[in-house]
């Protein structure tokens, strides 16, 4: 966060909220952040976010797992320590399938989850900026960065929020070392 002063509009119904976002964005007002208590259907489209590329990470990690499993087992069974197991072939591809599958899933799941945590800036002990405590309960919030706006512009944002059905509009100023 560059600035520490924000205007926060709070809604209590997601449909009103989604309409409000569309109207506010149509007026060319920049929305700094949008917070909701649950994933609201259609929110990222309303905000004009592009699709997440997280699933590509999952694919790449999964492919890594597949390759690693197959190469490692091939290396062990044909080169490092070839072992005759009940007369079976030294390179029993069908026997490799279960472990290859499991490692694909393992790498994909862990890789994607870790990418998710990094991209979402989530880690144990992180102190998030809390604009309003009710945004994880029953309020849908739009946050506007007050740092680079004049008081007139802020007043117009406040009144637009009100006319768009916000149940409350408030200012949030973060202290120097604001905790939880």
């Amino acid at each position: 966060m560059e600035s520490n002063k924000f205007v926060v509009g709070l809604w209590d119904h997601e449909e009103v909220y989604l309409h409000a976002i569309a109207h506010i964005r149509a007026k060319g007002i920049e929305i700094y952040e949008s917070l909701t208590p649950f994933p609201v259907h259609g929110l990222e489209d309303a905000l004009g976010y592009r699709q997440t590329r997280l699933h590509r990470a999952a694919f790449i990690f999964g492919a890594t797992g597949t390759t690693l499993a197959l190469t490692f087992m091939t290396w062990v069974m044909t080169y490092n320590y070839p072992l005759n197991v009940g007369g079976k072939p030294y390179w029993p591809l069908p026997s490799f399938i279960p472990i290859t599958f499991e490692l694909t899933v393992l790498f994909s799941a862990w890789g994607m989850t870790l990418t998710y945590l990094v991209r979402n800036k989530l880690w144990p002990g992180r102190v998030p900026p809390i604009f309003d405590k009710r945004t994880t309960d029953d309020r849908f919030a739009l946050v506007f960065d007050a740092g680079k706006l004049t008081e007139d512009e802020l007043n117009s944002i406040r009144s637009i929020c009100k006319t768009e059905g916000a149940v409350e509009v408030k200012d949030k100023v973060f202290a120097e070392n604001e905790g939880l």
């Binding site: 449909e15 994933p39 976010y49 279960p98 899933v105 880690w123 002990g125 029953d138 939880l180």
Partner: protein
Amino acid sequence: MHAYESEFREPLINGLDKNYTKITDDLVAPTERITPMWLIATLITGAGACFFVFCLTWTVWFGIGTWGLNKTIGWAWDITNFVWWIGIGHAGTLISAILLLFRQRFRTGINRAAEAMTIFAVICAGMFPIFHMGRVWDAPFIFPIPNTRGPVWVNFNSPLLWDVFAISTYFSVSLLFWYSGLMPDFGTIRDRSKGKMRRWTYNILSFGWQGTAKQWQRFESLSLVLAGLSTPLVLSVHTIVSFDFATSVIPGWHTTIFPPYFVAGAIFSGFAMVETLMLISRKMFSLEDYITINHIESMNKIIVLTGSIVGIAYLTELFIAWYSGFMYEQFAFYNRILGKYFWAYTIMMTCNVVTPQFYWIKSIRRNLYWTFALSIFVNIGMWFERFVIIVTSLADDYLPSSWNYFSPTWVDWGIYLGSISVFLFLFLLFSRFFPTIAIAEVKAIFRISSEVAKVERAKAANSSTANNGGFVGLQAIGPLNKDDKN
């Protein structure tokens, strides 16, 4: 805007007083108070968990000879319990992953607890093969780790090794799925907590969750992909468990029907355990509005389906044993039905094939007492299924002079009952400190499937049809769900 849902479907969130605030209050409430019932249950199961640790220590100290195993029957209660617990775990993934892919909204009320159940069941399951090794300190060598003996690697041809990979992957992926869903709900608890210590703790647990639109977007992508990965994973896990038996040359084990039969059995027993636990916890934590009779009926339908699949598998197995004309296979099945373990076979058939058929009757599917009793029957029946497969096939092998009988010792009993205590103990801790129902996910279906939303939509429809020549299409839904006030 929302996905369409037929107005004739029963609501998944009951109560006309519900709104987002009330949902948060109701679902966080169990983490904010200690009830005497919870305390007593936790102390009893905690004592049982201590006895479990004691019995395992006894086993390691004096060796596997303290169990009832003998030279003929080298796998008995340990592997029975292992397969039983793994099977129980499967319902959690089924509910959270497969029902997510199929867009079944009833999963939201039960997925969190079922996933927790998966994790605790897999913990219990894992104990049995590890301690069955005897020299438990050598357990790390089940993984292909570099060593100074060659290095001699593990045998990649062996289904027992595949099992190591399957179970450990299953455990860790289930943990990720469960925990990634918990983070937003921990955020909810943090933001309504008063005490500084409590806020701090739940903030650590929530990883600093905020609930921004971008976080939710990635959250949804993550849960969808994890569901997509977990679905084949869960099917692979029990398939590989069944390979442990199916790839051997023991009559009664060496059958190609095992993978689908084991997977259906796993889902069957898992749903029964979910019901056993959810019926208790919905009462204990007053969650009747969120885990409705509708949820229970849906689960019962899955139980009757998977129970029937299991029944067909039993009959197919019998038929193929006869039809194969293979003497040893025929003997194994003849011996199961009429041999010295006939009682185990009878219990298995009764509890798994006969009693679940009561669920064809709607009033029984929707009756809590019947459901609870039948879920216990299924739990018992599925334990006996594994016992029948494992012990009766081994007891009378190819060599009549080595035929033997398995009798459990007190250590076998202690470890088995102890593992149930560990499971219940972990579940009780979970339900006291973690949100048992996925708060955010329940809120996400509130505008679609709650009683409030349905009544609102019915009113809107009626007021618009009043100007429409008196068409009364949707008035039929008037008394929503009035017969289900138990």
